[in-house]
Symmetry: C2
Subunit: 462 residues, 2 copies
């Protein structure tokens, strides 16, 4: 335990310098979805590569994936010990509506005990914890307790579009005994959680066209189709009034929740009234027969992420829009398949296209859902590491979000994936005023120090 304490002390002394380093990374607007930020995305990758190189990691390189680059680095001198593949992502979500940010999204700002910036919590902050801990170990002890490979990608927020094919080609380089990912959330401020399941994702855009150009509603209104009305009718057709998804076959492959799982969810004591209050909802919404927590973590959804068409300015414009659009994403659970779900949704969309509407269905990202066996020692050790830092027993849970790469690693490398995150659900990951709790920054450093140190012993019997 002296070794752990020694690294922890070093991290405590260097804490302010580490925070400044993270702020530097956060100030790079690496928005992967927007092509005008292509250069910034690469700059963030270069920042990480440089940081790993100066800490003593080897074979550092920006690997070209066909999209944004991936940062690779390793340290492989712990002979006979396990190899950990550390996954994280340095790309971030767009920032709009930017006027709702209290401080500029790429000017990292500490308010209260929180660090505000786009990417602070998803996922530059948590990724940086691994870099900081492993660098500290190299600095203090001259070596690491395990072998480590870094795989830090730049396309997570656009569905890890190129990662699967890239890892298919390069999988030998990424061979390891387990994958460690900090891109999930704690259940609450002092309730750590090991995530053993994730929902999958299927995304698409719906483009509707009804005429060659916008038409005057006085001249043509009543006789010609309207693209904005048409896209609204398509979107409105996705759900039944009770909140269930109306796409035929959508639930066919859903593995029912077991009684044991439902009991685990119930134990978490999730407060639906508090959920309503904290998000300022007039009401909760969704599929009947399940708790809100079950609906968020373990039931599939279809959400419209954006809708637009026609005039959006001030005042009145008496126009009949000739084109309109909607973006949708489905969250999937075992054993739903993203491609099959997109097939079903596309069929639904074409069947519900109103008269006069030409509809194009453009497939975007997809990722399969994932559920891991949670008796593996690498997952069990995660709970102990949390307990070491938080003084609180960790729970095992499934999460509502999607990390497409989890399914990729599972399929290509056949190794367990340990998801131990340090973010909180209310940290506005994909919204204005994203932030990261500095309490979890500190506890995260201690959790990971413990985890890396104890891993060889935990895995020795496996």
């Amino acid at each position: 335990m002296d070794a752990i304490r020694e690294v922890e002390s070093y991290l405590e002394r260097e804490r302010d310098a580490l925070l400044e380093e993270l702020k530097e990374l956060l100030s790079i607007p690496s928005v992967s979805a927007l092509s005008e930020h292509r250069g910034d995305v690469r700059r963030a990758a270069e920042w990480i590569a440089e940081r790993l190189k100066s800490a003593g990691f080897e074979h550092v390189e920006l690997m070209e994936t066909g999209g944004h680059p991936l940062v690779y680095a390793d340290w492989l001198h712990a002979d006979g010990r396990p190899t950990v593949l550390v996954y994280g992502h340095y790309d971030v979500q767009p920032v709009d509506p930017v006027e709702l940010w209290e401080s500029p999204p790429f000017t990292p700002t500490v308010r209260g005990n929180k660090l505000y910036a786009r990417g602070a919590s998803d996922d530059k902050g948590p990724t940086f914890l691994h870099i900081a801990v492993l660098s500290a170990m190299l600095k203090v002890q001259g070596r690491l307790p395990v072998n480590v490979k870094f795989c830090i990608e730049g396309e997570e927020e656009v569905g890890s579009a190129h990662l699967h094919s890239f890892l298919e080609r390069t999988r030998d380089k990424f061979r390891a005994d387990l994958v460690l990912i900090s891109d999930t959330t704690l259940v609450g401020p002092n309730q750590p959680a090991v995530v053993y399941g994730l929902r999958g994702l299927a995304a698409a855009q719906i483009d509707v066209r009804t005429a060659a150009s916008d038409l005057h509603s006085g001249l043509y209104g009543g006789a010609v189709p309207n693209a904005a009305r048409s896209v609204a009718e398509i979107v409105a057709s996705f759900h039944r009034p009770d909140g269930t998804v109306a796409v035929e076959g959508f639930y066919d492959r859903v593995r029912p929740l077991t009684e044991a799982e439902r009991e685990e969810f119930a134990k978490l004591g999730h407060d639906e009234g508090e959920l309503k209050r904290s998000l300022q909802l007039a009401d909760l919404w969704g599929e009947p027969g399940y708790t809100a927590l079950e609906r968020m973590c373990a039931r599939p959804t279809l959400e419209v992420n954006g809708i637009w068409g026609g005039f959006q300015g001030e005042g009145t414009k008496t126009v009949i829009p000739c084109e309109a659009h909607a973006k949708i994403t489905c969250r999937l659970v075992p054993d739903q398949d993203p491609q099959e779900i997109l097939d079903l949704v596309e069929r639904h969309v074409q069947a519900h296209a109103p008269k006069g509407a030409r509809v194009t269905f453009v497939r975007q990202d997809g990722g399969k859902p994932y559920v891991a066996p949670y008796d593996h020692p690498a997952l069990q050790l995660a709970a102990s590491a949390y307990e070491h830092a938080y003084g609180q027993k960790a729970v095992f849970t499934r999460m509502g979000g999607s990390i497409p790469v989890v399914e990729t690693f599972s399929t290509l490398l056949h190794i367990p994936i340990v998801m131990m995150g340090f973010s909180l659900n209310d940290e506005n990951f994909h919204a204005p005023n994203e932030h990261f709790s500095l309490d979890n920054f500190d506890k995260g450093l201690r959790t990971l120090t413990y985890y890396y140190h104890q891993l060889p012993a935990a895995m020795s019997g496996h």
Copy 2:
């Protein structure tokens, strides 16, 4: 007839100079809906006032309405002869999507025999014809055959918001024997039309809010309401699958079309196949039981003019939008009342607000529908004037558009309103690449010369 020929000859000689003057007016971006163009709107008013003053009109002034100013001018020296109130508007529609314009909207450009610019056809071009003809008469003959008052407003494209209350206060100044308006369309390139009826307008914006901020669809999807879905469901509820409006009571006050009116419409020989082809429609749309022409001219509608909420960028953003919006306009026919229709629509919207959606209904413009008796000599003379210039008998018809000021004049001044336009339906008034046919520019000058000259004789027995 020599007097008419003399003015026509002058207009032919001055034609290029007149066209350059119109281009100057068209180059002023007087978009009344957008506050950043407030200065440009005033500049257009000043341009017209200056032009009228230099032609010899008197009492020229910019009258403050509470919104954009109105240009007044008169010439009242034709003792014992009728007084014509010339109405037009110098404000224009917004230009978005600006990237679809083949030449910049405020750089007037002649291509083929068409003048392209925002406002060319609606309504700077037609309004300018009156200015040009009456100025030519003053120049050539030193006097006008009738008394004339100009009322050129700057808020027609935002529903003439202040005009009614303004004219209520100032109606004595605007006393006349008839109102002459060129803001309607011909039936076809060489088929002039005297419009004796217009649809009314009722406009509103629907604002939906479901949470304090946008939420991550992975974390919260399935348990919370979605504003984009909610607004889509509201918009989709407005129509039944057959195209009729589903708002309760919407059709209650609609005066049925008479057999005689339906026969008049049938005589126009409107080609629905050509309508589909020219607008590149996959299909026509609308209320069953009526022809497309009847639906466009004489049946009420509810159109969504714009819809928006959530992410509209490239790629995927896995967000649950917390707010979304739609803009709607209803076209109304006798005896529907705009305020009553907005009451019905608001009730419908609130009754169809999905669970968890807080909906605000914001009323915008309104204008009553209008139908004139077409046996009045001032209307009959319009047909003769068209025939003089076009060599083609004019038809009498009702139009689908709305000119709120027509109802205002009718209510406040109790005088006939003569609508004789020179625009064509396919001139993209509210869309990119608006243009005005130079053939109608030339014929319009001749039509109006004839009309003003013959009016005293036509009205003498009335």
